[in-house]
């Protein structure tokens, strides 16, 4: 297959109208088979693709198309991929670059640092269960404040209560690290509403915690584990009708939140029977201090210790990671270690990066395995 940009190039001398027609005829990035053509139009000293695909140079240079003001770059893109990126432009006559969203691409992904443009591979589709479903009954959110001696502060916690919540029933509990971000950037509330409606998970209570200093509190911090197990859990059990069996209690988190989940479970083995660990920052060092910097030091100490003496801390662990993340190495190597403890472990990889939409897209598989719903038995 000849790419459209090559067809255009082959025509030789190109005028403004040719570029206008080319841009009008396609959506960008232009995905053709397993290739994606990124373009930018304007006067510039240079244009680069700034992406977060581990394994490729992080800035890929665009080429100017002949004498036109169209710049392009062709990237191999496996079909199921989702890649977040920005364009790094050095405007004509300047030396300093600026990062911008791709003006030709309407697809954006938001995260706590802002937004990125998103390129979808040929067969990637946003899962329909992440989108609002009119038929799904909506759960409610309420806010609690839990005084924590472990953390030395009062911690605000949002609590998701499923639709048709009844005090006479008992519910499984899931505690989500960075819960606010999961709500905002991973559509967690919609996902819960939909999966509960479809009976793929049971109606459940989800406590959404937020840390004011996550890089410290999530890095195997004893006060954080104490908060979860000895302060938050009793507070929730006092207020809501919750199941008490470990199989009906879970911790989840992404990145440092994954570390926080595993670390807390390790300090309180058996307290939380289900763990959902997404792109966990499981940095370790076979020798020396590790390569990720001082903020990771307590993580490295914890993961090294866990690797040295793996322990069965829960019953089931769902681990997911993006192939385009640098953490793929750590996560892949963690799986056999977790399995060796006798825990049931399921590991899933995706053609995606370290971002909230990757974590969103894995929620169905993870939650329905950790907390299977009654869909096989219930026909209402």
């Amino acid at each position: 297959m000849t790419l459209a940009i090559r067809e255009l190039e082959r025509r030789g001398a190109l005028g403004r109208e040719d570029v206008d027609a080319f841009l009008a005829a396609h959506a960008f990035p232009l995905v053709e088979g397993s290739s994606a053509t990124f373009v930018w139009r304007g006067e510039a000293e240079s244009v680069h693709l700034q992406h977060w695909v581990f394994g490729l140079p992080s800035a890929q240079p665009f080429t100017r198309l002949g004498e036109t003001d169209l710049w392009y770059f062709i990237q191999e893109l496996p079909p199921r991929s989702r890649v977040e990126y920005k364009l790094e432009i050095v405007p004509r006559g300047e030396t300093r670059s600026r990062l911008v969203l791709d003006p030709l691409n309407p697809h954006l992904a938001n995260d706590p640092f802002g937004a990125n443009s998103v390129c979808h591979g040929a067969t990637y589709q946003r899962p329909e269960w992440t989108l609002p479903d009119d038929e799904a009954r909506r759960g409610a959110l309420e806010t609690l404040e839990v005084a924590s001696e472990g953390l030395g502060r009062t911690v605000p916690v949002d609590v998701y209560l499923p639709a048709r919540f009844r005090t006479r029933r008992r519910y499984p509990l899931l505690v989500a690290h960075d819960g606010g971000d999961y709500l905002r950037y991973s559509s967690l509330r919609t996902v819960l509403d939909n999966l509960i409606h479809r009976l793929e998970i049971p109606p459940m209570v989800v406590a959404l915690t937020t840390s004011s200093d996550r890089l410290v509190e999530y890095a195997d911090h004893p006060g954080h584990a104490r908060f979860l197990a000895e302060e938050l859990l009793p507070a929730l059990e006092a207020r809501y009708p919750l199941r008490r069996e470990p199989a009906q209690r879970g911790l989840m988190g992404a990145s440092f939140g994954g570390v926080a989940s595993l670390a807390a479970a390790s300090r309180y083995p058996g307290r939380f029977g289900r763990l959902l660990l997404q792109s966990g920052s499981f940095a370790f060092a076979d020798i020396g201090a590790g390569r990720r910097g001082p903020v990771f030091d307590p993580v490295v100490r914890f993961v090294n210790r866990f690797r040295e003496e793996p322990q069965r801390v829960a019953e089931r662990v769902f681990v997911s990671c993006g192939i385009y993340e640098s953490l793929i190495y750590e996560n892949r190597s963690m799986v056999p270690i977790l399995q060796r403890t006798g825990m049931e472990v399921r590991y899933v990889e995706a053609w995606d990066g370290h971002n909230w939409e990757n974590w969103r897209d894995r929620l169905r598989e993870g939650l329905s395995w950790l907390f299977p719903g009654p869909l096989w038995m219930v026909y209402e």
Partner: protein
């Protein structure tokens, strides 16, 4: 003979009231909502829909009360349920292979003279496995009933008597969906599988599944597992020769002729019927009397209007 009316899900398209009116029922209607479990009593919308003529039979609550009063029966019941679960797991393991073989042969191209006998035999193996499973389930139930005589035990008998009185004042019974195993177990526990015979029945969604003679669980794309349709139980047998599939639109890949054909051929000669919102099937004198909005899955992998197919 009193009609048995099977209806699609009622949450968005309420057709129950119309079906009751069409059957000329004007008196009280006993309601079974045990499939809703803890929410059994939350039947306000249903009562309003039937102009306050309902009386909830409270089978779920009665079951809880009876088991609480008779721990020996409860322990035996739990043991039997555990046995059934283990048997279901064994059946499921065998089913995965049998279904895969049948599906592979149905989808295979080539010389029909060579293939068709193999396809038929693969399907026969699948049907034979389903039948074997049904026989084992029946035997386990029979053994349990003979040994424990639940209907004669005081904790159950007093509810049976009370239910008899309540049903005596009812002109018809409505059976809601929900958890089909719980629903069926509660109906059987209080002998309603026999008591309901001869009464006009309106059963919707999971209730319709339970009302027939073979309860088939199904979902083509569950988030976990293979999604092989499986026989769970023999139903109440209030109508026979039909396998209703409520929510088929959402649960099944009805545009996939291979899947449709396999389901249809596996349970033939029973009619496998997609029973979505608005669907209604009326059964009378052991035969289909009327159907609307219900589509039968065909051996060729298509869906056709049930009424036309049976005309």
């Amino acid at each position: 003979m009193a009609p048995v009316v099977l209806l699609g899900p009622q949450r968005f398209t309420r057709t129950l009231g119309e079906a009751v009116r069409a059957a000329g029922i004007e008196g009280r209607i006993g309601v079974v909502s045990a499939g809703w479990q803890e929410r059994e009593r939350e039947d306000d919308e249903l009562r309003d829909h039937l102009q306050g003529r309902t009386v909830n039979l409270l089978l779920y609550a009665r079951g809880e009360e009876a088991f609480g009063a008779d721990p020996e029966l409860f322990a035996a019941h739990r043991e039997r349920q555990d046995l059934l679960r283990r048997l279901q797991e064994l059946y499921r393991q065998r089913l995965a292979f049998a279904k895969e073989a049948a599906r592979a042969l149905l989808g295979k191209g080539g010389d029909p003279a060579l293939l068709e006998p193999e396809r038929r035999h693969a399907l026969e193996s699948l049907r034979d496995l389903d039948e074997h499973h049904r026989r084992r389930l029946r035997q386990i139930r029979r053994d349990f009933d003979e040994r424990w005589q639940p209907l004669s035990r005081p904790a159950v008998a007093r509810h049976v008597e009370a239910l008899g009185r309540t049903l005596g004042s009812c002109e018809a019974v409505g059976i809601a969906g929900g958890h089909v195993a719980v629903l069926l177990n509660r109906l059987r526990l209080f002998g309603l599988d026999r008591t309901l015979r001869g009464m006009p029945i309106f059963a919707w969604s999971g209730g319709a599944m339970v009302a027939t003679d073979r309860l088939v669980l199904f979902h083509d794309s569950p988030p976990q597992g293979a999604g092989n349709a499986e026989v769970l139980e023999e139903g109440l047998g209030l109508c026979q020769g039909i396998v209703p599939l409520p929510h088929a639109r959402r649960r099944l890949h009805l545009a996939d002729p291979l899947r449709v054909a396999l389901l249809a051929r596996r349970f033939a000669p029973a009619a496998v019927v997609a029973l979505d919102d608005g669907g209604r099937i009326t059964w009378e004198n052991f035969a289909l009397r009327d159907a609307r909005g219900a589509r039968q899955l065909t051996a060729e992998g298509a869906l056709v209007d049930l009424a036309e197919e049976r005309a």
